[in-house]
């Protein structure tokens, strides 16, 4: 039997009847076409599928869609303000914080959560705050630079 869910995704109300076992990431990607959220593992370790639920960073590959009922979900597609990039998006671009880009949406959303409760993190706090997100391309060096750049922009 399908489960009826209603949630807000990137500011828009979404109502669906879904299988109880449907993963949130599959609702986003396959039902709603929001393919910016990527899947890199099935054990909640790589963080490529990270989205914000009510402002908190959550790995959508190990959340059921029904658990998002009544909540607000933000994906990478909902982060920019129209055509104006979010400072984190801009920072990743400015500082070469991405190469293949597959981990990037999750990395940016985890960083958004970090900056939401720690607007001026030290480099070590950035590294601690993003340890749930794996990147295999950048060696993380420029990801720290990108987040610091964004934090500076957002606090100035």
């Amino acid at each position: 039997m399908g489960q009826k869910i209603k949630l807000e995704v990137n500011g828009k109300t979404v109502e669906r009847e879904v299988e109880a076992r449907l993963l949130l990431v599959h609702l986003l990607r396959e039902e709603l076409g929001l393919t910016g959220t990527n899947v890199g593992c099935e054990t909640s370790l790589c963080g490529a599928c990270t989205v914000l639920i009510d402002g908190e960073a959550v790995k959508s590959c190990t959340q059921l869609a029904v658990q998002a009922h009544g909540r607000k979900v933000t994906t990478i597609e909902g982060l920019a303000n129209g055509t104006e990039l979010h400072p984190l998006q801009q920072g990743f671009w400015e500082k070469h914080g991405l190469q293949c880009g597959y981990c990037t949406p999750g990395m940016i959303l985890s960083a958004a959560y970090l900056l939401s409760h720690n607007p001026k993190p030290t480099d070590q706090e950035i590294r601690e705050g993003l340890k749930g997100n794996l990147c295999r391309c950048t060696g993380y060096h420029n990801i720290v630079e990108a987040v610091r750049w964004a934090a500076d922009q957002m606090s100035s």
């Binding site: 299988e19 076992r21 449907l22 599959h26 990607r29 396959e30 076409g33 929001l34 393919t35 910016g36 959220t37 990527n38 899947v39 890199g40 593992c41 099935e42 054990t43 370790l45 790589c46 490529a48 994906t75 990478i76 597609e77 982060l79 920019a80 990039l85 998006q89 990743f92 671009w93 400015e94 070469h96 991405l98 190469q99 293949c100 880009g101 597959y102 981990c103 990037t104 949406p105 940016i108 480099d123 070590q124 950035i126 590294r127 601690e128 993003l130 340890k131 997100n133 794996l134 990147c135 295999r136 391309c137 950048t138 060696g139 993380y140 060096h141 420029n142 990801i143 720290v144």
Partner: protein
């Protein structure tokens, strides 16, 4: 216009990727698309007695279930070929679906196709396979010792090849007269590449046209198409289009031709519908070609002055269950040929036995053979620095090939075109503050607390594999050139079609810089198209740090041809001789009469109008180059790692990492630095944390990210980079490769640093990864606690 070559412009790839609009294979959706799940062997080695697919076929949403019997019935070749041959190489057949025997955990035995991925996954569990388990062989040395299980009938004692290079007699003589010899037994740990995007395929066969389009995670779409048509799916090459959409990292793992892409294409051909397959992380860990996995004995001979006189290396290299695409080349021509490092070594001999094992195949992974060689050489140098009392800088300096000795013919086939090794070492010593560090180390060594260690790696690599005739003579079943077609559009903008296939490297940005520089165009006027056999005529793809040196040079040459033709058109318009036309600043002028000129746009437009045009010239402005390099390129450098080891816990903490690289001229410094960062993270990961582990029964114990220690952001530190610049003398850009350098240089730098820290305990060597437990046990066993 200001120079753009050599500047850090931002990447044009990024706006799509930071907004979620990059389309990777698994993001694509076609009408009527089905999902495939591959049923895989849970046994490392077993005979298949029976496969019962009835329950799976009856499951909800299931459209088809296929086994090897269905492949045979369809008349599909269904084989996975090998792309590099060695003398006396044993090549057992590699069917895309196993029929009589499985040879590793993950070997595919059936495929289930269903309307959605959940249904396919459910039904896969209903396929019943009756196995008769056999003993497994997982260690490359034990697999060939005569007592292990026989994996393939075609390869007696599991030996795939027995290969050698160099002069054994000369080495024997060198050791006989040596003042000092160093011996080292080591294991180069098996690694899982771990591109964050798992492999995926979407195949769309159209029976009305008899063609198929395959979107897939590939570093080399043309090579994949070629191999698929030669041996796998039974369609001619011109009926197959392979497209690489955004590709989420590769590091070698997406070079190789795997069964899964072929199985998915087969399903689409049988059902005449689009079929998608996307690996889970565990599937990827089980089936992606792994890297390294060597067991080696290495010996170094030195004279009384600390000069190296001989090097002997004996290696057992795992091939895994089947020969992967370039697997035979990796521990041979990409390994044995690098063993001279940066040093004058008058006698070298290397023997490598390739061993079949009941594991995932082993093939090229970032660095491919060269990290393994560098590890051997630089670990031996470290031990030699200690044993001779010369220290780590001096033992290297004393043995460097002198700057005036290039081109330099090594004893292991390679002829280094250029090099100047001392300045990189000097710069690294300066950056790290070497003398002060050694003083700090002395102070720490007086106590029993945390110890500092300093490790060196003066490395060389050979990349941009070339030229084609040479690699062909060594067994390559492909050329090693690259193609570039440069099309100038009637309005003056440029579309570049490159055979290189970017999967994170930023080719669209760097290649557009090359064209913009040469044609004095704004970089926005240049577009770069790659990764599609339907647009690019043929290309070898991106691997082996070849794209800038080979692919970039092809673009350069094509632009030269464009300018040459445009000069003829300009000469006609200016009523001058073509040899008197100069190009610069966006216009063509007559030599000696700079006021007589015609703009780029006017010449280009005339190429397409052909109204006022030379009689002997074809209209249009496009040029193609198949660039076959004269030699490899030889990047080099010195890296120094500083660690702190806690003897109480065995924990290693990275304190500093200095990398001075010489990659020749640089097109985009920001991107080059990024490549070094990424390589370092993987190489340091190999040294300290990573390792694929199989148990004796052939079960992969590191099948998920819960068990495989992929480096996280808080494990790493900021890297300190610098460069020296020795341009490559044989390509027009003067560039060398950079993608693999960090992964090649760093493992010995880190291990040497830890061993340096452990010197007070008399510990000579610990195999990677240097997990705290291993270090602690070594200290405990030293008797000097």
């Amino acid at each position: 216009m200001a120079r753009i070559l050599g500047t850090s412009i931002k990447r044009r790839e990024d706006p799509a990727l930071i907004t979620g609009r990059g389309k990777y294979t698994d993001d694509l959706k076609l009408q009527g698309m089905l999902h495939a799940v591959i049923v895989r062997s849970p046994h490392a080695h077993a005979t298949i007695k029976k496969i019962d697919t009835a329950a799976a076929k009856a499951a909800p949403g299931v459209v088809a279930v296929y086994t090897a019997a269905d492949v045979a019935k369809a008349g599909t070749p269904g084989m996975i070929p090998v792309g590099w041959l060695l003398p006396n190489l044993k090549i057992p057949p590699h069917p895309m679906l196993a029929s009589e025997k499985v040879r590793y955990v993950g070997d595919g035995v059936a495929v289930v196709v269903a309307e959605d991925r959940y249904q396919a996954r459910d039904a896969a569990d209903l396929v019943l396979v009756d196995y008769e388990p056999l003993t497994a062989a997982t260690d490359p040395k034990k697999a060939v010792d005569g007592t292990a299980a026989q994996i393939h009938a075609e390869a007696e004692n599991n030996i795939a090849f027995d290969w050698e290079i160099g002069d054994a007699a000369a080495v024997t003589a060198a050791f006989a007269s040596a003042a000092k010899t160093i011996e080292l037994d080591l294991r180069n740990n098996r690694l899982i590449p771990h591109a964050i995007e798992p492999r995926a395929v979407l195949a769309d066969f159209n029976s009305a046209k008899g063609d198929i389009t395959i979107w897939m995670t590939t570093q080399n779409p043309h090579v994949h198409r070629l191999l698929m048509c030669m041996a796998s799916i039974g369609l001619p090459e011109h009926k197959v289009r392979v497209i690489a959409p955004e590709v989420g990292g590769g590091f070698g793992s997406k070079i190789h031709h795997y069964p899964d892409e072929t199985i998915t294409a087969f399903c689409s051909m049988q059902l005449d519908r689009p079929v998608e397959w996307a690996a889970t992380r565990t599937e990827t860990n089980l089936t992606d070609a792994h890297g390294r996995d060597h067991v080696t004995k290495a010996e170094l001979a030195l004279d009384a002055n600390g000069k190296i006189t001989g090097l002997r290396v004996n290696t057992y290299a795992a091939m895994g269950s089947y020969l992967s695409t370039f697997a035979p080349a990796v521990p041979t021509y990409l390994y044995g040929t690098l063993l001279s490092g940066q040093y004058t070594i008058p006698a070298i001999h290397c023997r490598v036995i390739g061993a079949f094992t009941n594991t995932s195949p082993v093939d090229a992974y970032r660095g491919a053979g060269r990290p393994e060689a560098t590890f051997v050489v630089e670990r031996l140098l470290h031990l030699a620095g200690e044993a001779t009392g010369l220290g780590q800088a001096e033992i290297r300096r004393r043995n460097f090939i002198p700057a005036d000795a290039f081109p330099f013919q090594t004893q292991v086939a390679l002829a280094y075109d250029s090099g100047n090794y001392a300045p990189a070492l000097d710069r690294a010593l300066e950056m790290v503050g070497y003398d002060q560090l050694r003083r700090d180390q002395e102070i720490r060594r007086k106590g029993k607390g945390k110890q500092i260690g300093i490790g060196f790696s003066s490395f060389i690599e050979a990349c941009g594999l070339a030229p084609s005739a040479v690699v062909g003579s060594l067994g390559a079943q492909a050329g090693q050139w690259e193609s570039a077609e440069v099309r100038v559009n009637p309005t003056g903008s440029v579309s570049v079609y490159t055979g290189s296939s970017s999967h994170g490297q930023g080719h669209e940005t760097t290649f557009s810089q090359i064209v913009a520089e040469k044609l004095d165009l704004d970089v926005s006027q240049v577009d770069v198209i790659h990764g599609d056999t339907g647009s690019v005529q043929f290309g070898m793809g991106t691997y082996g740090s070849r794209s800038a040196a080979v692919g970039g040079s092809a673009i350069w040459k094509s632009v030269d041809k464009i300018i040459e033709k445009a000069k003829k058109i300009a000469a006609h318009l200016l009523e001058a001789a073509a040899e008197d036309i100069e190009f610069g600043g966006g216009k063509f002028t007559v030599k000696g009469a700079p006021d007589r000129g015609v703009a780029w746009g006017d010449v280009v437009l005339q190429a397409y109008l052909a109204h006022n045009y030379p009689a002997d010239l074809e209209p249009g402005l496009t040029a193609t180059t198949f660039y076959d390099p004269a030699n490899f390129t030889y990047p080099f450098g010195t890296h120094i790692c500083v660690v702190e080891v806690d003897p109480e816990t065995g924990t290693t903490k990275l304190l500093r990492y200095i990398a001075v690289d010489d990659v020749g001229n640089v097109i985009n410094p920001m991107i080059v630095d990024g490549q070094v960062h990424g390589g370092l993270a993987q190489g340091i990961g190999q040294a300290l944390w990573e390792g694929a582990v199989y148990d004796d029964g052939g079960q992969l114990l590191t099948g998920s990210l819960m068990d495989y220690a992929l480096p996280k952001i808080h494990n790493h530190i900021p890297f300190e980079l610098d460069r020296t610049v020795t341009p490559c003398p044989h390509n027009p850009l003067g560039v060398k490769g950079v993608g693999e350098a960090g992964a090649i240089a760093s493992p010995p730098a880190v291990v040497n640093a830890v061993m340096d820290a452990l010197q007070p305990w008399g510990i000579r060597h610990i195999d990677m990864p240097l997990a705290a437990e291993k270090v602690w046990r070594a200290i405990a066993a030293s008797g000097r606690v």
